[in-house]
């Protein structure tokens, strides 16, 4: 008995000692290595992606204007003119479609227009609206807001085109599931019109879509969620946030724990409404400055008010961040919208018009107004020009940039709001990741075929990138995220140019049947 007692004591002691020792080592490792792992990740990541970023953001010869921005502007303008300002003509019809006025009651139980729109919105409304806008006005000044709204309005036409095609050329499988998106409409639509190269473009799109899913749809989200967390808690290494996020994402997309995603999908819309409501209150509290803020937006749009690059600088930032936020022309929304139940693809195109409107024209503008009105951007009282720091960005009241700038702006009105915003950012980041993991997966299975192991490989890669995204610095992450998403737009818009006559035919046929009363409302 004595003997066993003697043995037991050290055994017990060591059982307790090991975890304590482990945590002590971990703690000292963290203390010594604060930023060590992060710095390494950042360095490798910048080296690996630099060339791709440089290619996408190359300036037009002899100018300081990135060709990709022109590409997006031209695309949105072409679609706006080709469809004769569909974004203004069809808004009323879009609202009655979402309300279900034209939905056949016998289709109840299928995906409604409302659900397709809400799902697509939860993939786009997110950090682009909170952090992206802060980046835009932080570099491009208030004038960037004007270009952002314009890009949002024009982007509605791009979205209309791609979402109509997404539904028209989706794959409907024997088991009742559907898959749609640019890879399907480019390959099928080109074949239908007898244009060569469809398959090649579709594959190219799928490759960029996977990169976009890992970049903007994943790393940028993880990165900014971490930035938000260290703004509230004491700074700690990003890879820890990354591991936690990756764990939860893994549980949902690999473990199939639907309840987490379902809870997020239900909470996110309320967070969005609350965000807009808080912004409205702050704007109304400063109602005397609303006129001044719009003055800054218009003056800045055409003069730049001293920002780096002047007018062009403001325009580039506005268009870039609008495209990043509402994803019009990128092709991702076409994947999300294609699950809707409708016999008329044009109806989903019309419904999708509302997406850039809600995302950019409403929510992004709210963020920008709050940042401007709460005086986050410092200007020289003598000249009225904004003061630039060494990095070419406008010096902010608190020195913050990105999501921290938005947080500071809201926090200056309600001291508790940064906590709510942190929760919103984390939930938005999470729901965007879940949406993009699906977009990326669709592109992946388009390339490699469906199958459990193949899907698992992508999902694991996706989770690894969550950790990388949280650990790397904002600069390289945002560059790569933008580059990947815009690369998708390059391929998608080429596809849309070739396929837009098909959309026009559908639109004309639908509109004439709507006018003649052949397409009737089921509800009054």
């Amino acid at each position: 008995m004595k003997n066993t007692g003697f043995i037991k004591a050290p055994l017990l002691a060591s059982l307790f000692a090991y975890p304590v020792l482990f945590f002590a080592t971990l703690q000292s490792a963290l203390a010594q290595d604060a930023g060590g792992i992060d710095a390494k990740v950042n360095e490798i990541f910048s080296l690996a992606t630099g060339w791709f970023v440089n290619l996408i953001f190359a300036n037009l010869p002899g100018t300081s204007f990135p060709w990709i921005v022109l590409w997006l502007v031209v695309g949105a303008t072409v679609f706006t003119l080709y469809f004769a300002f569909i974004q203004f003509r069809a808004v009323g019809h879009a609202i009655s479609l979402v309300k279900g006025d034209y939905s056949n009651p016998n289709d109840a139980g299928e995906v409604s227009h409302f659900q397709a729109l809400a799902t697509a919105l939860s993939g786009t409304v997110g950090l682009g609206n909170i952090a992206g806008v802060a980046v835009a006005v932080g570099i491009g000044g208030p004038g960037a807001t004007f270009w952002m709204i314009l890009a949002g309005l024009m982007g509605m036409a791009s979205k209309f085109t791609e979402c109509t095609l997404g539904v028209k050329y989706r794959n409907e499988y024997a088991d009742g599931t559907v898959s749609g998106g640019p890879m399907y409409y480019i390959s099928k639509g080109f074949a239908e019109r007898g244009i060569p190269g469809g398959k090649f473009l579709a594959v190219l799109f799928a490759v960029f879509c996977i990169l976009g899913a890992l970049g903007g749809g994943n790393m940028f989200q993880a990165n900014q969620a971490h930035a938000q967390l260290i703004g509230i808690f004491d700074p700690y290494p990003g890879w820890i946030t990354g591991l936690i996020f990756a764990g939860v994402v893994f549980a949902v997309i690999v473990g199939g724990i639907k309840s987490i995603a379902q809870v997020t999908e239900k909470v996110v819309p309320f967070m969005g409404i609350m965000y807009v409501a808080a912004a409205m209150i702050i704007i109304l509290m400063n109602y005397d400055k609303i006129g001044w803020a719009f003055g800054q937006i218009f003056d800045g749009a055409f003069t730049g008010l001293g920002v780096a690059g002047g007018l062009v600088g403001a325009l580039i930032q506005g268009f870039k961040r609008a495209a990043f936020s509402n994803e019009a022309g990128v092709g991702s929304a076409a994947i999300a919208h294609s699950a809707v139940q409708t016999s008329e693809p044009i109806t989903e195109g019309v419904v999708s018009l509302l997406e850039p409107f809600i995302d950019t024209v409403v929510i992004c503008t709210m963020t920008a107004l709050v940042i401007i009105i709460t005086g986050q951007l410092t200007s020289d009282p003598a000249t009225g020009l904004y003061i630039l720091g060494d990095n070419g960005q406008i010096v902010t009241a608190t020195g913050a940039s990105g999501v921290a700038l938005t947080s500071a702006a809201f926090g200056s009105a309600f001291s508790w709001f940064p906590y709510v915003l942190a929760l919103a950012v984390i939930l938005f980041a999470f729901s965007t990741m879940i949406s993009w993991s699906y977009y990326g997966l669709k592109a992946w299975t388009y390339l490699f075929g469906e199958g459990k192991t193949k899907e698992l490989i992508f999902k694991v890669i996706f989770c690894i990138f969550v950790v990388i995204g949280a650990a790397a610095n904002l600069g390289p992450v945002i560059d790569f995220s933008d580059a990947a998403i815009f690369a998708m737009a390059v391929v998608n818009i080429i596809g849309l140019y070739f396929l837009m006559p098909i959309v026009k035919r559908e639109l004309n046929s639908y509109m004439s049947r709507l006018k003649s009363g052949e397409i009737k409302k089921f509800k009054n």
């Binding site: 009651p105 139980g109 299928e110 995906v111 659900q115 088991d175 639907k258 995603a261 699906y438």
Partner: protein
């Protein structure tokens, strides 16, 4: 022309009580047919993930099949064995709306439902199916206790 009765089924004891009463009514009326309606609660305004949307059509088919096989068909078979004229269907949507819509479509004489089994918190927030039906129905409604 025969009289038609709509009976709301929900796969629980309350559905059976409604059916028992409808059978009694049917015998009293004589030339009468019973239309069974099973409603899968569903709203077009709920929020879903992209993956749920992609497999929604498949899920809907499964839901209809399951309800038909487990609830509607066995009840129909029993009714027919007892010599009743009966038909049945499964629909998605708001139970009160659907029962009323089917009653209108079939030009039914009345709707028979049983007092709903849900209670407490849910009923306080959303109101019960029975209460909604009684308030909005276009044909007489009999609520069985």
């Amino acid at each position: 022309m025969s009289t038609k009765l709509i009976v709301g089924l929900d796969g629980s004891g309350s559905g059976d009580r409604a059916l028992a009463y409808a059978k009694r009514l049917s015998k009293l009326i004589g030339k009468c047919s019973i239309e069974l309606v099973y409603v899968v609660e569903w709203s077009p305004y709920s929020f879903q993930t992209p993956e749920e949307n992609a497999s929604r059509h498949k899920r809907r088919e499964q839901e209809i099949k399951t309800a038909m096989e487990r609830v509607v068909q066995p009840t129909l078979d029993a009714l027919k064995a007892d010599g009743f004229t009966a038909a049945g269907r499964v629909k998605h949507g708001d139970a009160a709306d659907i029962l009323n819509a089917v009653a209108m479509e079939e030009k039914a004489e009345q709707i028979v439902v049983a007092r709903s089994s849900e209670g407490g918190f849910t009923r306080r927030i959303f109101g019960s199916v029975t209460a909604n039906l009684v308030m909005h129905a276009s044909v007489p409604v009999t609520v069985v206790g």
